[in-house]
């Protein structure tokens, strides 16, 4: 395991790996998202209570699930970076942060949009929406901290510590917000978690979740390559890659 992983501490290896994986992620993300969305939005049966507005779950649920997992992935990358001092791990963490933040924003936006017909208000202090909002703040903190430093290596380490502090907090926040919510509002209609979902409704959702995973992986590899290019652009190995690339094709 260690022998297999160790080369990826080097930026050029990571760059090569990203270039290799990126088209696969791109193709599967596009294919899955188109299938899942078309199926979910046009062909899946309407909900007998919520009508067509339930269809927003095909975006809300994947975004909400992955906003949390992206944060955890970010924290794992930070831990790897801190423990083994890999530059690339911090770069990966930074590549993931805005993607996760956008996922959180999508989850919040679709949640609010769903809330308008269901609850009659754009914003309700529902437990899940509130913890998503706090998660968005945590993402913003990590990104802001990273951007505040001139020395990006130092920035990566600092943002990494903050991501770890955040990840310890995520479950605590989740739990505390649930507590706060039941205390103040009583049980509101908990949405989306129906124990039995019709299979024809469930399949497009699962496809979309996998599609979102591929999409996040795609954007992350793209951003990671970008980050490496930005920071190591002047290194010899990089100039040789760039030269080779421009020799083969003129499209960049």
């Amino acid at each position: 395991m260690w022998k297999w992983l160790h080369p990826y501490a080097k930026t050029e290896k990571v760059y090569a790996l990203c270039s290799r994986l990126q088209p696969w992620f791109a193709i599967s993300a596009i294919a899955l998202l188109i299938t899942g969305s078309v199926w979910g939005l046009l062909y899946a049966p309407a909900d007998y209570q919520q009508g067509d507005s339930f269809r927003i779950i095909y975006f809300h649920v994947p975004a909400a699930m992955l906003s949390m997992s992206t944060y955890v992935a970010m924290a794992i990358a930070a831990l790897v970076g801190i423990v083994w001092q890999w530059r690339t791990a911090f770069m990966a963490m930074v590549a993931m942060a805005p993607v996760g933040a956008v996922m959180t924003f999508i989850a919040l936006f679709t949640g609010a949009a769903w809330g308008k017909p269901m609850w009659g208000a754009w914003w309700v202090w529902d437990a899940r929406l509130t913890s998503e909002l706090i998660l968005l703040f945590l993402y913003c903190g990590v990104i802001a901290l990273y951007n505040a430093f001139d020395d990006k290596q130092q920035a990566g380490k600092a943002a990494g510590v903050m991501a770890l502090v955040g990840v310890v907090n995520v479950p605590i926040i989740h739990f505390s917000v649930e507590w706060w919510n039941t205390l103040h509002q009583g049980a509101t209609i908990t949405k989306f978690d129906k124990p039995s979902m019709a299979t024809e409704m469930l399949w497009p959702l699962l496809i979309n979740i996998v599609g979102f995973v591929c999409f996040i992986a795609w954007v992350t590899t793209l951003r990671l390559k970008n980050e490496i290019l930005k920071r190591e652009g002047a290194r010899p190995w990089m100039t040789s890659i760039v030269r080779r690339g421009s020799g083969n094709s003129h499209a960049v």
Binding site: I82, I134, F137, L138, C140, G141, A144, L145, A148, F149, D151, Q153, Q154, K157, A158, V161, M162, L164, V165, G166, V168, N169, I172, I173, F175, S176, V177, W179, W180, L183
Partner: protein, 222 residues
């Protein structure tokens, strides 16, 4: 241990008391913020009593953040931090000592001031008891977690706003449990669970924060 006490703790304390004006500022800030609420929402005792735990806790968090930046900033700027890192003392011990000093000079006065605040906001006696307990157990958590973010931003020229941005979301669980404990006390209910959770969080922070702070301080020296 002795070196830590004589070299770090005593030094920080005497530095803090050199600047008595700066010591009082967060306290005045707290008092004024709390006074703004009756003016803003009206002087009715019921509503003031209902919002009192949230108001006092939020004001305490904000005024704690005000003094937070001084925790490492001066030492970083004048080079004392370099000398401390090279002193051979464990950096996590130094961090813990500094956090303790911060708690002593910024939160202990707030706790002493809390009877006045409770009186302003018409808190009942059981509510006040719960408030004191949550303040005593919860404010060390603020100092510990706050020190991590302060240490991370110490090498930045303007980091004070960033510190608040980083910290406020992290303090939300503490705010929830602390205010909920006081509200339970207002309703004559037991608030044991909330207090237990707050103590657990403080213990977790006490065990892990010193190492995070010392790592962050080392990163700042890069």
């Amino acid at each position: 241990m002795n070196a830590l006490y004589a070299g770090v703790f005593k030094r920080d304390l005497s530095l803090a008391f050199r600047q008595k004006g700066e010591l009082l500022q967060p306290l005045m800030f707290l008092l004024i913020v709390v006074c703004l609420f009756p003016i803003g929402v009206g002087p009715g005792p019921e509503i003031l009593q209902r919002i009192s735990p949230g108001v006092i806790w939020i004001a305490a968090i904000l005024s704690g953040l005000l003094g937070m930046e001084r925790l490492f900033k001066d030492d970083f700027n004048d080079g004392t931090l370099e000398q401390l890192i090279l002193s051979g003392l464990p950096l996590s011990g130094i961090a813990l000592s500094k956090v303790f000093t911060h708690w002593l000079v910024s939160f202990l006065p707030i706790i002493c001031l809390s009877p006045v605040l409770a009186m302003f906001l018409h808190m009942s006696l059981p509510m006040y008891q719960a408030l004191i307990i949550t303040l005593l157990l919860g404010t060390p958590l603020l100092s510990l977690i706050g020190a991590i973010a302060t240490a991370l931003t110490v090498s930045l020229h303007r980091g004070s706003l960033l510190v608040s941005l980083l910290l406020l979301p992290v303090f939300i669980p503490l705010l929830i449990f602390a205010t909920s404990a006081v509200e339970s006390a207002a309703m004559q209910l037991s608030y044991g669970p909330q207090v237990a959770i707050i103590s657990a969080m403080t213990c977790l922070a006490l065990a892990s924060a010193p190492f995070a702070i010392s790592y962050a301080l080392k990163v700042s020296q890069h």
